[in-house]
Symmetry: C2
Subunit: 343 residues, 2 copies
DNA sequence: TTGTAGGCGTTATCAG
DNA sequence: CTGATAACGCCTACAA
C-alpha cells in the first residue's frame, strides 16, 4: 500500500472496460475524434483513422451502444413482435428480416408473446423502453391504446403478414380474404362441393375462412363443417381433424386446411383409412411450407413469399428511419395458388 | 407568436418524451423516488407508489432503458446467437428460452448468422457493444479470440445443444456422440447391417456420425456410404438423398438420417418407388420433430427435450447474473431413442 | 422512507 | 479536419 505502481498509459489501475477516453489517451487524440473515426470515417483523415485503429487494438476497446444510443437518440435496434416462432409460417420471414436488418447494421430484439400469453400491448410497451429505432408487428389487429402509444412516440412501425388500407404506419403483407376467395374459386372450379375444414385458431386464418365462405356462397353453399385446432398447427392435429370430421357422419369431397402441416396430417390419416387423395378426397393447404411440393401426393396450397415479407419490411423500415424516401408505405407481396396433386 | 400559453405543469412546452424528472415534478416527489417505485417497490411506501403511478399515467412516461442500463450497468437483455432459425431443431429451444427469460424480466436480442454467413466472432463482438447481461451461444466450437473476448468481458455465457467438460462458462445440452452410439446400437440390435446415410452439413451432425461409425466398427463395418446435403435439412433433400444412394448401385437395409425431415423425405421417396418401410428398408431420423410420431409409418428417431434446453439455459444464466448460486454449470438434458415403425 | 450529488460512456453543437 | 463543452436520462452511492 506504500507506493502504487505508476499508472500505465491504458487501464492498468482502472477496473472497468476500456472506454473512448482510454483510446483517446493512448492515441493522443480527443474522444470525439475516436467517435468520429468509428461512426463517420469520412470526416476523419485516413492516417488519423489508422492511429485510432491501432489504439483500439491495443486497448481492446468495445464501444458501448447504450451510451451511444442515449446520446445520439438512435439505438440501431429494431424490435420485432411475433406471436410465436415455433409456427413454421413466420420463421422464414423472421430469418429474412434479421438478415436484411444486419445488412443495414441493425440488430433485432425479438419478442414472442409465447405461452405466457403476455398481451402484445404489454409486450410493446415494455419494448419501447429500449428505444428501438423501429418496430415490426405481426398482423393488423392491435389495441387502440397500443396504436395511440405508438403514434405518440413516433417510432416507425411496419405491420406484416396482413393487409389493410389503414396501417399504423407502414405494411408488408397480402390479403387473406383474397386468398380465401381464390381457394374457394379453385376448388369450385375443380368441381368439389362437399367441403370440410380443419382450421387453426388464428385471426388471419379466420379471415381466410371468411373469404372462402364468401367465395362459395354464390354457389349456394352457406356453411362448411369445421374442426378447430390450436396453434401451432402440426401434422397430428390434421390427422385428428379428419377423424373428427368423419365422425360427424357427413361425406366430404374436399378438406380445406388452414396450413400445410394440417393438410399433411389429413393426407396421412386418409392414407391410413384407405381413402385415396385426391381421387376420393381432395386436400388443400396454405403456406407452401418446404415439404408441400415434394410430399406424395404433393399438396395443393397457396404460396406466400415469406422471405420477401421480411426483406421488404426491413427495407422500408430502415429507409424511413434513415430519412430516405419510401415509395409506398403499403407493400402487397401477393400470393400464388399452387395447383398440385392433392386437390 | 406574441404571447405563449403559460407552460403547463407537464411537458406542454418540451419537445422530448417525458422523463423521470417530469414524473417527479408532477408527483411532487424526487426523481430517485420514482426510480425506486419502479425498480424496487419494496423500498417505497405503498401510498407513495400510488402517487407515482398516477403521475406516470398522467405524463405517459416510458422509462429509458438505455439510460438505465448505462447508469446501472445492467441491461436486462440477453443476447442469443443461433446459426439459423429456419432450422426446425432450434426453434422450440429459442421459444422456450424467450418465454423463460420473459418470466425473469429479460429481453432477447436474437442474432442469426444467416445467409450472410457473418462469422459468429464478428456477430458476438458486435453484440457485446449492447452490453447484454448474458449470452447464449449455440454449440461449443468457437474461435479462440471469441472465447478470450468473452472471458475478458466476464459476461455469463451459456452454450447450448452440445456437451463438453470444458464449456466457456455454463452449458445445457447433450452428447451427440452418445446419440450416434445409441443409434448404431439400436440398428445393429435390430439386425440391420447395410447402412446408408443422408446427412446435413452441420458440425453437431458430424459428431453424431462419428458416434455411429464408432458404434458399428466393432461389428466389422468400417464405412457407411453417405450423401451430404446442405442445411436447413428439408424433406426434399431426403428424397434426393435416397435417389442418390440408390444410384450408387449398392443395396441398403437401413438409411440413417441426420434429421427427421430428411427421414420423412427418404420414406416418401421409398414409397414412390414401391419400397416398403421398414420391411424392405428401415429409416432412422433425429430430433423427434412434431410430425415424427404421427407420420405413417411413424419415424424411429431420437427425442431431444428442446424446450428444456431453452428453459434450463435461461434458468442458470439468470441465476448467475443475479448472483444466485448455480448448482451445476453443466446440464446434460440427455436424449431418448424412440423406437417406432420406420426402423 | 426519502433526498442530494455525481457520474455512467457517448455524441451534438459549436468553435477553431 | 479536430477539439472543448454540455447534454442524454437514469442510478449508485451516501446522507438525512
Amino acid at each position: 500500500m506504500v507506493a502504487r505502481k505508476s499508472a500505465q498509459s491504458t487501464s492498468e489501475n482502472r477496473p472497468g472496460a476500456p472506454t473512448l477516453d482510454d483510446v483517446a489517451r493512448v492515441s493522443g487524440l480527443s474522444p470525439i475524434t475516436i467517435s468520429r473515426a468509428l461512426n463517420h470515417p469520412h470526416m476523419v483523415r485516413p492516417q488519423t483513422i489508422e492511429k485510432v485503429n491501432a489504439a483500439i487494438a491495443l486497448t481492446g476497446y468495445i464501444p458501448n451502444l447504450l451510451a451511444g444510443g442515449l446520446a445520439s437518440k438512435r439505438s440501431k435496434m429494431i424490435a420485432v413482435a411475433v406471436p410465436q416462432i415455433n409456427n413454421a409460417m413466420f420463421v422464414d420471414s423472421i430469418q429474412a428480416l434479421s438478415d436484411q436488418l444486419a445488412v443495414y447494421g441493425y440488430h433485432m430484439l425479438l419478442c414472442l408473446a409465447g405461452y405466457a400469453q403476455q398481451s402484445e400491448e404489454q409486450l410493446v410497451s415494455a419494448i419501447l423502453s429500449r428505444k428501438p429505432d423501429g418496430i415490426v408487428l405481426t398482423g393488423i389487429n392491435h389495441t387502440q391504446l397500443l396504436k395511440k402509444r405508438l403514434l405518440l412516440t413516433g417510432v416507425p412501425v411496419v405491420e406484416i403478414w396482413d393487409l389493410t388500407p389503414t396501417p399504423i404506419d407502414m405494411l408488408v403483407g397480402f390479403s387473406h380474404e383474397k386468398v380465401g376467395n381464390d381457394i374457394a374459386g379453385y376448388l369450385m372450379g375443380k368441381g368439389y362441393r362437399r367441403f370440410g375444414m380443419v382450421w387453426a385458431d388464428d385471426e388471419r386464418a379466420e379471415i381466410r375462412r371468411q373469404g372462402i365462405l364468401a367465395g362459395v356462397k354464390p354457389h349456394g353453399i352457406t356453411d362448411i363443417p369445421i374442426i378447430r385446432v390450436p396453434t401451432p398447427a402440426i401434422l397430428e392435429l390434421g390427422r385428428q381433424g379428419l377423424v373428427q370430421l368423419m365422425a360427424t357422419g357427413q361425406s366430404f369431397d374436399a378438406i380445406i386446411c388452414s396450413s400445410d402441416a394440417l393438410a399433411q396430417g389429413v393426407i396421412v390419416e386418409a392414407g391410413i383409412n384407405g381413402i385415396s387423395v385426391p381421387a376420393e378426397l381432395a386436400v388443400m393447404g396454405f403456406g407452401d411450407l418446404d415439404f408441400a411440393h415434394c410430399c406424395s401426393p404433393s399438396i395443393s396450397t397457396v404460396h406466400i413469399d415469406k422471405k420477401a415479407i421480411g426483406q421488404r419490411a426491413a427495407d422500408i423500415l430502415i429507409a424511413k428511419i434513415e430519412g430516405r424516401p419510401v415509395a409506398n408505405n403499403i407493400v402487397d407481396v401477393g400470393f400464388k395458388l399452387m395447383a398440385r396433386q392433392s386437390a
